[in-house]
């Protein structure tokens, strides 16, 4: 990383972190820059690594059928022409249908059949493992019953579904524990970047602090004057 890169990336990191103090123009500027740069990046990649090789170069090679994709793609832009904006639904319908078809098979094979199959576990032998397996089967059955909304969950059904809620709560707790690790990892990553050059970070941090102070005072004075 060259010096210019270091100064710019550190400055932008601090601009975003300044939001922790309060929402301010530096944060807004960096936020808008982020949206702009990422949108520009995605568009360039969509062109360079999908539209150009899979459409333009294929058609140039004589694969005329591929022009169908171009027609569908261009139809998307009819939404800007009110008279024919209904045509923009065609490509959308095509893609939604494709995802719907893919999902039917994907969820059935990946999440339903194999998950059910692997819950057929030994609940008799092997001591402690069998106990855990019994808890697993009870947990899965009661949690599934909690998701059964066709009958009011009262009486025995209510008791069983409450046990299901307990299992779901433990699984949400586990997710929360892992989420903490994810979030902390990102903060650790950024902290490391800021520690690459403490002098650069120190100078820019001071600059951001001075800006926030001056801007805060101006805000207060215009607020009082209003």
């Amino acid at each position: 990383m060259d010096a210019l890169q270091l100064w710019i990336s550190t400055a932008l990191t601090l601009c975003i972190l300044s939001f922790l103090w309060k929402d301010n123009p530096l944060y807004k500027l960096a936020e808008h820059l982020f949206v702009g740069i990422s949108a520009g990046y995605y568009i360039a990649l969509a062109w360079q690594e999908t539209i150009r090789p899979n459409l333009v170069e294929e058609v140039a090679r004589g694969n005329w059928i591929r022009l169908g994709a171009a027609i569908l793609g261009v139809l998307m832009f009819t939404r800007f022409v009110p008279k024919i904006s209904w045509l923009s639904r065609w490509p959308l319908a095509f893609v939604v249908g494709m995802y719907a078809g893919i999902n039917v098979i994907a969820f059935a094979s990946g999440d339903l059949i194999l998950q059910l199959q692997s819950t057929m576990v030994d609940v008799v032998h092997d001591g402690w493992t069998a106990v855990s397996n019994v808890i697993l089967v009870i947990g899965l059955a009661t949690s599934l019953i909690y998701f059964y909304f066709s009958k009011e969950q009262k009486g025995a059904l209510g008791v069983v579904s409450r046990i299901g809620i307990f299992f779901l709560m433990i699984s949400f707790g586990a997710s929360f524990g892992y989420t903490v690790m994810s979030r902390m990892s990102l903060a650790i990553g950024r902290t490391r970047e800021l520690m690459v050059s403490p002098a650069t970070t120190g100078i820019l941090l001071l600059a951001v602090a001075v800006f926030l102070f001056v801007w805060g005072r101006r805000q207060r004075s215009t607020g009082e004057g209003a």
């Binding site: 103090w21 995605y42 690594e49 994907a106 094979s109 990946g110 692997s118 690790m181 902290t191 490391r192």
Partner: protein, 282 residues
């Protein structure tokens, strides 16, 4: 004029910026003064390492790196250690991404691992970088039909049909293993649903910690042969590969920030119960 707040109320309604500052210290201090702590390897990560170790030397794997800069602290250390483990076994690699921002990270990881310089891997012969493809699950299903059809050219623009390594590899089941480094969707879940469950290709994955618990069912059902979740999973994997890196180095900061968070939860609840006892519960 409002009445003076008691010390308990002042603590309960403390300006959150103080909390931010305490967290910042909890992260920075362990990064400056590292505390050596024991690192326990969980069965999920051990299985992942073993599955890769069991690959025959010289076999070819498919790697889909699906993350962006926000996932780097969690996944890049794993990605780097993965390249080392595969390269030491002389495993050939075909790499691509279904996330637009991932390819520059892969390029940086390959350079840092010294794939061409230290391990002597030759481009297009021992490894291929196909770049990015749009379409998410549609792209996954399209690769099942034809990898070369989905990626007519590689990252540099070389026609796939002319790449020597790809001569005998065109669909998932041609490869010895599918390895997914994933920060979300499309990623592990979509690969398990659309590829592993349908083709049966052996698959291992690394994911962000936030997704870890959601993917445990796939690991327990044998759909994933191993799983490394988050920075901790990456640290365990670095330990197994024998390449201590940024994930292991981050474990002290993780410990401090986790303990701080637990302390905040406990302290917040003590305040809450004290308030309830004095009749001010909300």
């Amino acid at each position: 004029m409002t009445a003076r707040r008691s010390w308990r109320e002042r603590l309960e309604f403390i300006d959150r910026r103080w909390l931010f500052l305490i967290l910042a210290f909890a992260i920075v201090l362990p990064l400056v003064v590292d505390l050596p702590l024991p690192l326990y390897v969980s069965p999920m990560v051990q299985d992942l390492y073993d599955a890769i170790e069991d690959l025959p030397d010289g076999s070819t794997v498919l790697i889909s790196a699906d993350y962006d800069p926000s996932g780097k602290p969690e996944l890049e250390p794993f990605h780097l250690a993965l390249i080392h483990q595969l390269a030491e076994k002389k495993v050939k690699m075909v790499m691509y991404s279904l996330w637009p921002a991932a390819t520059p990270i892969t390029e940086a990881v390959l350079a840092e691992a010294g794939l061409t310089t230290d391990y002597g891997y030759r481009k297009d012969v021992d490894y291929v970088l196909l770049g990015y493809k749009e379409g998410q699950q549609i792209a996954m299903r399209s690769i099942q039909k034809s990898l070369k059809g989905t990626f007519p050219v590689d990252r540099d623009g070389t026609p796939s049909n002319e790449i020597p390594l790809l001569q005998h590899y065109d669909t998932y089941t041609d490869f010895a293993m599918l390895i997914n480094v994933s920060a979300g969707s499309p990623g592990v879940k979509e690969y398990v649903q659309n590829v592993q469950s349908i083709t049966g290709v052996p698959m291992v994955a690394a994911c962000t910690a936030v997704s870890g618990p959601d993917y445990v069912p796939y690991y327990k059902a044998g759909q994933l042969l191993g799983l490394a979740a988050g920075m901790k999973g990456a640290a365990e994997y670095e330990k197994l590969v024998g390449r201590p890196g940024l994930a292991m180095a981050g474990m002290s900061a993780q410990s401090a920030s986790h303990i701080l968070l637990i302390a905040f939860i406990v302290f917040g609840n003590v305040m809450y119960f004290l308030a309830r006892r004095s009749g001010g519960a909300r």
